[in-house]
């Protein structure tokens, strides 16, 4: 494997954003994901190689470690920041169409629910899985989800809820989406959500953790 790609992957895995970032302490004064991604492109590494051979595997390792409780939310967010600093250099290639992502993923916390941490973790892991993420935020109405689907045809949809009292709204949104877009794929998650509930409301997949969501999306494009 290319040495610089390996270095970028390490920066992302351990959350080294750029040279001036003091975190993690044992990587102080070294180049971060920002500088390395820029240099890789200058040296002629293809943007899709940076995505597929550095960012995606690094974020997969982050997801696995989170699932095993070897790292926690703050470390995941550090990794996401490092990933974003590398991803910023790839954006022009995404926009020009030179580099293609695996697909689009619309995500939001359902109506009445303001909890965003779980939703954000899923969004960043899926972006780190090579997808384009459209994050609608929290307290997202059914209409807003439907509007985003019109705008991004074929996107996979992810719904998050943290409260038993807001799960009802998940059901309403799933029904409305399935009615309009019968072939759409909907992923649900959040503390009170279960596989049984997912089946009951007619959603397609229940992910107990962010890595589960990434793994499911992989099966859709395999």
């Amino acid at each position: 494997m290319n040495d610089i790609l390996e270095k970028i992957a390490l920066c992302v895995e351990f959350g080294k954003i750029n040279k001036v970032s003091p975190y993690p302490p044992n990587m102080k004064d070294q180049d971060g994901a920002d500088e390395l991604a820029k240099r890789a492109l200058e040296e002629g590494v293809r943007p899709d190689e940076i995505l597929e051979s550095a960012l995606v595997p690094a974020m997969a390792r982050v997801g696995e470690k989170f699932t095993k409780k070897e790292i926690y939310v703050p470390q995941m967010l550090m990794a996401a920041k490092a990933m974003n600093s590398a991803m910023a250099h790839l954006k022009p290639f995404f926009q020009s169409g030179e580099t293609k992502r695996k697909g689009k993923f619309i995500v939001g916390t359902v109506a009445g629910d303001l909890h965003d941490i779980g939703k954000n973790l899923v969004a960043m892991m899926i972006e780190g899985g090579g997808w384009e993420v459209i994050d609608l935020g929290v307290d997202v109405s059914t209409e807003k989800f439907l509007g985003a689907m019109e705008e991004h045809p074929g996107a996979v949809v992810g719904l998050s809820a943290l409260l038993t009292t807001t799960m009802e709204n998940m059901k309403k949104t799933v029904s409305a989406i399935k009615e309009k877009h019968a072939s759409s794929k909907i992923l649900v998650g959040g503390a009170p959500v279960t596989r049984e509930y997912c089946e009951k409301i007619g959603a397609d997949f229940y992910a107990p953790d962010p890595q589960g969501a990434v793994n499911y999306l992989k099966t859709l494009v395999a």
Binding site: Y72, V73, T165, A191, Y197
Partner: protein
């Protein structure tokens, strides 16, 4: 300032100058899937088990939340309240986003309950304040309104003041308004706990009201959660928290220790008692 709550006969006084009152949080289906399956079959044995466990662990008041998808919580909250009241004489904190469920529960609850919660949105205040007044209930005023969650303590104080003012206009006594400064996880952003602690200090200083907070989730996404929750609890008590909503099994010792250190436990009677009860 004293907020007095009542079970069938037993009174609990939440006093801004007295020891901390613990509102037990465990009757809540969000993290207890067994509560959903038992309640779906109108089986209250597990609810009563949770009530007893919390009372034995020093809960003074019990929060009751039975909201989950597919449930008629107007019926179920009232039924659960009746089941608890038949066995235990303890004030209840009725926890539902549905004003109709709160009203139905107040109709059968008797005593003097706490409503969890009224926020600063017009819809919430219009629906709940008249009900609280009619049934003589105290309310938890959540420092959040239509404009969402703010990270400025002064703005949270302003929302609390707004709800207080409206509550008093609706005929509710000032002492029956308990403020919730809103606690959020510290794992994704370092600000929320500092903001809540400062809001608690401001509410205590400017309004002098009792203060509650459901804070077991501030440690979400981090290791060693019990230590984090305990430290946050102690700092909150220092700033003016008087009636946290928490799991008494995990937090009661921290609460008693805070009371002792703050000079509210003569001869350390309550601290020694709870320590010995836990074999410490």
């Amino acid at each position: 300032m004293k907020t007095i709550l009542r079970g069938n006969t037993r009174e609990v006084i939440i006093d801004t100058d007295g020891p901390v009152i613990i509102i037990g949080e465990c009757i809540n289906p969000t993290r207890r899937k067994k509560l959903v399956s038992t309640l779906q079959e109108s089986d209250f044995a597990y609810v009563l088990e949770l009530a007893e466990m919390q009372i034995n662990a020093a809960a003074d008041v019990l929060d009751v939340n039975v909201g989950f998808p597919g449930v008629d919580d107007v019926k179920l909250l009232a039924e659960t309240v009746l089941a608890i009241k038949a066995r235990f004489d303890i004030p209840l904190c009725l926890d539902s986003p549905n004003p109709k469920a709160i009203e139905a529960a107040l109709k059968v609850a008797g005593g003097k309950c706490l409503i969890n919660s009224v926020n600063g949105e017009e819809k919430s205040m219009n629906a709940l304040l008249p009900i609280a007044h009619e049934y003589g209930a105290a309310i938890i005023a959540l420092a959040m309104d239509d404009s969402g969650i703010t990270y400025e303590p002064e703005k949270r104080l302003a929302v609390a003041e707004k709800i207080l003012e409206r509550a008093v206009k609706a005929g509710i006594k000032e002492e029956d308004v308990v403020i919730d400064p809103l606690a959020m996880a510290v794992s994704a952003d370092p600000r929320p706990c500092v903001v809540s602690l400062e809001t608690i200090r401001l509410v205590r200083q400017k309004l002098g009201l009792n203060i509650t907070q459901g804070a077991s989730n501030i440690s979400f996404g981090l290791p060693n959660r019990e230590v984090l929750n305990s430290v946050y609890m102690a700092l909150s008590i220092m700033n003016g928290l008087t009636c946290p909503i928490a799991n008494p099994e995990k937090i009661a010792t921290t609460v008693r220790a805070s009371d002792l250190i703050l000079g509210r436990d003569d001869y350390a009677i309550r601290f020694v008692e709870i320590s010995q009860a836990n074999g410490l």
